[in-house]
């Protein structure tokens, strides 16, 4: 579904990504792992149009993503979450999730000001869908609460609900369980498993190896901007290069 071909990104003379190539197959969970500074977030930012790769190509179905604006990429059906939560503090939980349906709410400013009956109907339908999404993520009772008063774990779930509400073709999750306690991690893990069962294509950037090994169909390992391994969780787990670059490092610190 998503094909990266020799994607490189240089900041000044510094290479953050160096000829990265891999594919994200439809209906599967692909995990992107690697030590801090490996270039995982840079790669996600390149895929979503926040950054433009220095060279290489990123194709989504049959569209070239390189050079496209972030909002155009979003409208193709790619949703994402952020490593550092990016919720809208002034809006309620429901309105935050509704922003995930923004591509479908689309009306011109003039029509929106007139609030014609068809727009009111559409608005009601969107609200129902947002409420359903909140229900799926266990947040139904908090829909009217301002998002800023939520606990961190709930905020993470709101962001997840916002990314999934429009049923995008591909969801990029940037460290969805970072900073969560074990209970919250398990809850988010459950949600991800449910998404996987529903056939949602996911690209998951995560440090929590247990979660990655449990839900990923394919694991891609980045180290210093290079893709050093690719394969099933078991293959990657036993890859000596990976052990040295990433898992070994964890053992050394353990």
């Amino acid at each position: 579904m998503l094909h990266l071909d020799k994607v490189s990104k240089h900041f000044g003379g510094l290479p953050a990504l160096d000829q990265v190539s891999f594919s994200v197959p439809r209906g599967q969970v692909t995990a992107l792992i690697g030590p801090n500074g490996a270039g995982k977030s840079t790669l996600i930012n390149c895929m979503t149009g926040v950054l433009e790769p220095t060279s290489g190509s990123i194709r989504f179905i049959d569209q070239q993503l390189v050079g496209q604006a972030a909002h155009t990429i979003a409208r193709l059906g790619i949703a994402r979450t952020f490593q550092n939560l990016k919720l809208f503090p002034r809006l309620s939980v429901l309105d935050n999730v509704l922003t995930g349906l923004n591509c479908e709410a689309g009306a011109s400013m003039t029509l929106a000001m007139l609030r014609l009956p068809y727009l009111r109907h559409r608005e009601r339908r969107l609200k129902l869908r947002a409420l359903e999404a909140l229900d799926r993520f266990g947040l139904a009772d908090k829909s009217r609460v301002p998002v800023e008063v939520l606990a961190y774990g709930d905020k993470k779930r709101v962001e997840l609900a916002r990314a999934c509400v429009a049923e995008p073709l591909l969801v990029l999750l940037d460290e969805p369980v970072a900073g969560l306690n074990s209970e919250e991690t398990a809850a988010v893990g459950e949600q991800l498993k449910r998404l996987r069962t529903a056939g949602q294509t996911l690209l998951l950037v995560e440090h929590d190896m247990e979660l990655v090994m449990e839900i990923a169909d394919q694991v891609v390992v980045l180290d210093s901007g290079r893709c050093i391994a690719r394969g099933t969780p078991n293959e990657v787990r036993n890859n000596p290069l990976v052990l040295e670059a990433y898992l070994g490092q964890m053992e050394a610190t353990a």
């Binding site: 972030a70 909002h71 979003a74 922003t99 923004n102 400013m109 608005e123």
Partner: protein, 332 residues
């Protein structure tokens, strides 16, 4: 559901419509109880400011941008209507619409390059635009009348009904103000409004949700300029005279202060902000020489203790109190 719950549910469901209807009723009845032309003149001025501040609040409060130059669009609307009706003898209503369209075009030309900037730089750029427009009003005296102003602007009329006294103007101006409020309330409750709020919250996140951030900023800038232009045209026809003093950078900063004091991102706050900033100098008239000092002090105190503005700040304070009380009740 008890009767009380039903009433509460109805109020929650229709609170916007109910508030607009209540305000309309109060405004319709107001001239019956208040016939002092001076007081009516003040509330009419508030109506004009409400139109500008509602538009500006969409740009500053909702979309999270900054403009210190909206008096320029207010002035362009006023001078545009004055020149169109007096110099070219055009009918007032079509002129008002034409001028608004022209001001939209000017805002587009100004907005496309300046809205690439943000924060302090955007504030400086918009301030600069205001200075340019103000200087043109002062210097191009064959057209604008220069520093001595532009007199003899005709009153607005519909058929034979001329809006030439304070009571008639009250109904005209507040109709426009209510219309501006209603349009803005509709906008912020729509997907477009949520897109603007997303833009103010985080531009990267907004773009990742499909909001064309650059376009949205330009659109809301143009919209707020059109609101200011219509307010300017009404101002010109209402007073029959315009001079550059009303459209300098201090007028722009006053408008931005109205947005902030009323409540950023609160449409109803715009009414409070416009009202307070217009009436405050009158209320503290008794302090004579210390008027400016007290005026500044009150604004500083509001911003210190209610930095979200009067409307949003008070609403949040009441909401927190109610929630705490509920929790206490539930605990006991």
């Amino acid at each position: 559901m008890t009767r009380k719950q039903k009433i509460l549910y109805f109020i929650t469901l229709h609170h916007t419509g109910l508030t607009v209807s209540t305000l309309s009723l109060v405004l319709v009845l107001y001239p019956l109880f208040e016939d002092n032309p001076y007081t009516l003149g003040l509330t009419n001025l508030i109506a004009i400011y409400v139109i500008i501040v509602v538009g500006l609040n969409l740009f500053i409060g909702y979309a999270g941008q900054i403009s210190l130059g909206h008096a320029a669009f207010f002035g362009l609307g006023a001078y545009g209507s004055a020149i169109a009706t007096v110099t070219f003898g055009l009918p007032a209503w079509p002129a008002m619409a034409g001028v608004a369209a022209l001001v939209a075009l000017v805002a587009l030309v100004v907005g496309v390059p300046t809205l690439r900037l943000s924060g302090h730089y955007l504030a400086m750029a918009t301030l600069g635009c205001n200075i340019v427009v103000h200087t043109i009003m002062l210097q191009w005296d064959q057209v604008t009348g220069g520093p001595s102003g532009f007199p003899g602007i005709p009153s607005l009329s519909i058929g034979g009904f001329v809006f030439d006294d304070e009571v008639r103007l009250h109904y005209l101006l507040w109709s426009f103000a209510l219309l501006a409020l209603l349009l803005a309330l509709n906008l912020v409750r729509s997907g477009v409004g949520r897109g603007l709020a997303a833009l103010a919250g985080d531009e990267t996140a907004a773009a990742a949700l499909g909001v064309d951030t650059r376009r949205a900023k330009i659109k809301v800038f143009v919209l707020s300029a059109v609101f200011a232009s219509v307010a300017g045209s009404l101002f010109a026809h209402c007073y029959g005279f315009v001079s550059p003093d009303s459209f300098d950078i201090f007028a722009s900063t006053d408008m931005a202060i109205m947005v902030v004091v009323g409540g950023m991102g609160s449409i109803w706050g715009s009414v409070i902000g416009a009202g307070l900033l217009t009436l405050l100098p009158e209320w503290i008239d008794v302090f004579e020489n210390y008027k400016d000092l007290i005026h500044g002090l009150i604004l500083v105190l509001i911003l210190m203790f209610l930095p979200q503005g009067l409307m949003t700040g008070l609403y949040e304070k009441i909401r927190d109190k109610v929630t705490l009380k509920r929790q206490k009740n539930a605990a006991s």
